[in-house]
């Protein structure tokens, strides 16, 4: 095989393998599974607010198979973000990237459990980022990140990473049948800072 293509294959697999360490399953007793992303080694987890909506017991399953009951630290349905905590330590985290510097056309990969297919990886490119993207209908005053990925139920809350496996967004929703929409990581940071201000400072 062409050595460049071989290297490309290896790179893709490396990113997928390393990011999978921080990809969680989240169940809320309704059946079905959502995704979550480890944000801090001491058990801070980020996911979508719509993943944890419901009244069942919220459980988080690590890639190792360990399962924990999760506690909700904060959630904001308007942003569709939630922060959870589990009593675990030394968890692998994904290095955050600079989501403000994203460029149209650059490579991204989304991880999650689409339609219950666990630990799936899908790749594509950034379509664009901003508060108003063409016909994207969501208007909540923050930036959205559009990608040419078909996100499915179960992708929600999972990580969106760049070509080096850095976290640049949280997979959230589809706009029409073809445009995947993620919350950029700078919006996630602002959310955590606002809701968990002091805790977050201590943790970092």
């Amino acid at each position: 095989m062409n050595p460049i293509i071989q290297q490309l294959y290896d790179d893709l697999a490396d990113v997928a393998l390393s990011v999978r360490q921080s990809l969680l399953q989240i169940t809320n007793g309704r059946g079905g599974v959502g995704a979550g992303t480890i944000w801090h080694p001491d058990g801070l987890i980020v996911t979508n607010a719509h993943v944890i909506s419901g009244h069942g017991e919220l459980r988080v399953i690590l890639p190792t198979g360990d399962s924990y009951r999760a506690q909700i630290l904060a959630q904001e349905p308007n942003l569709d973000l939630a922060a959870l905590s589990i009593p675990a330590a030394n968890l692998p985290v994904i290095e955050p990237g600079d989501s403000r510097a994203l460029k149209a056309g650059q490579w991204v990969m989304a991880l999650g459990h689409p339609l219950g297919v666990l630990n799936s990886v899908t790749g594509g490119v950034v379509i664009g980022m901003g508060q108003q993207l063409g016909d994207i209908q969501f208007r909540n005053g923050v930036d959205w990140l559009a990608v040419n990925l078909r996100l499915r139920p179960g992708h929600s809350g999972g990580p969106l990473v760049d070509a080096q496996g850095r976290l640049i967004g949280v997979n959230t929703i589809m706009n029409g049948p073809e445009v995947g929409v993620a919350i950029p990581v700078h919006v996630v940071k602002a959310f955590l800072k606002q809701h968990l201000g002091t805790q977050q400072k201590q943790a970092v």
């Binding site: 290297q7 149209a104 650059q106 490119v125 993207l133 016909d135």
Partner: protein
């Protein structure tokens, strides 16, 4: 970590950035704006005809959110291209037609770029086919021209006098999903060169790309005449199977039987008759309506053209001066 993947990612983003100053927003319809491409630095912009729904009050959004009013120079509904002009200095992208040897091939990575908002947007795919869009386009466009003729489903024919979409020429087909507002924007290669113009109006349910070489032809015609001239013959015709002996002699199985002739048309003046089966034009074989329309191009307007037909089992050549379709 990830050196090749990161390089690929950087290269794709750089390709978009390279083309970006030459990609503009075209605000010429009530719905979401579409995209246009700067043709030259004196403000000539090419876009998709179908997104320019009005002839006045058209605005162009240039890079840096500069907005400039534009005039319509000309339109060619056939290829769904329109040429606009802004009174502003513009930065064209790199137009690539493969003439430098970098031919676009099936399997190549390509990006569709659009500017429906203030910033450029992009999406990635591969070239899936480079071909004529006949099969996709013929049913949709032609059915409107289909005329009832008896009761049997087979007994219909196509009119050649209506608005025809048979001469776009080869198009680039990709698996790229064009998002709303991407029509009129470019398909670029991984080096940022513009390979053609994307439009959703020529085939049902998907977008095709009109190659740069064809875009250039249409723009040249529109800048020179304000329209693309099309040849006019003045017949209605139906594909029919040729008798075996003739089929072997001509090495073609199908011809176009004339089922109507317009009064005063070039066909009538030239002496074509109902029932003649057209099999060729100027030594080119004619088997389908699309082939005939391709041959009735601007170069043949006003020229004496030899129409080869079958009449009474014999091959005849009839000289017809091709008119111009209004």
């Amino acid at each position: 970590m990830s050196s090749v993947l990161q390089s690929l990612s950087d290269a794709l983003a750089a390709a978009v950035e390279t083309a970006s100053p030459g990609i503009v927003r075209v605000d010429g319809r009530r719905r979401l704006p579409g995209t246009g491409i700067v043709w030259s630095s004196d403000g000539v912009i090419v876009t998709a005809h179908h997104i320019v729904e009005r002839n006045e009050n058209i605005n162009i959004g240039l890079e840096g959110d500069v907005i400039a009013p534009a005039k319509v120079v000309g339109r060619d509904p056939n290829t769904d291209l329109a040429v606009l002009k802004v009174e502003a200095s513009t930065t064209p992208p790199v137009w690539a037609d493969g003439s430098d040897g970098s031919e676009l091939k099936v399997g190549h990575l390509v990006l569709a770029v659009g500017r429906p908002g203030t910033t450029v947007q992009a999406t990635l795919g591969v070239v899936s086919k480079i071909s004529e869009p006949q099969t996709e386009r013929q049913p949709r466009r032609m059915r409107a021209e289909r005329r009832g003729y008896g009761h049997g489903r087979r007994r219909w024919f196509y009119s050649i006098e209506g608005e025809m979409y048979g001469s776009v020429g080869p198009v680039i087909q990709t698996d790229v999903v064009m998002y709303p507002g991407f029509s009129g924007g470019p398909l670029i290669d991984a080096g940022g060169g513009v390979r053609g113009l994307n439009t959703s109006a020529l085939s049902r349910g998907s977008s095709v790309t009109i190659p740069t070489a064809r875009v250039r032809e249409v723009i040249d015609a529109l800048l020179a005449h304000g329209k693309v001239r099309r040849g006019y013959l003045g017949i209605g015709a139906q594909p029919v199977r040729l008798p075996t002996a003739l089929a072997e002699q001509l090495e073609q199985e199908i011809g176009l039987m004339i089922v109507s002739i317009e009064t005063g048309s070039p066909a009538e003046k030239g002496g074509l008759l109902l029932g003649d089966i057209v099999v060729g034009l100027d030594d080119y074989s004619v088997q389908t309506i699309d082939e005939l329309l391709m041959l009735l191009n601007s170069e043949r307007v006003g020229k004496s053209t030899s129409v080869r037909a079958v009449r009474g089992g014999q091959l005849i050549d009839i000289s017809v001066t091709i008119g111009e379709r209004e």
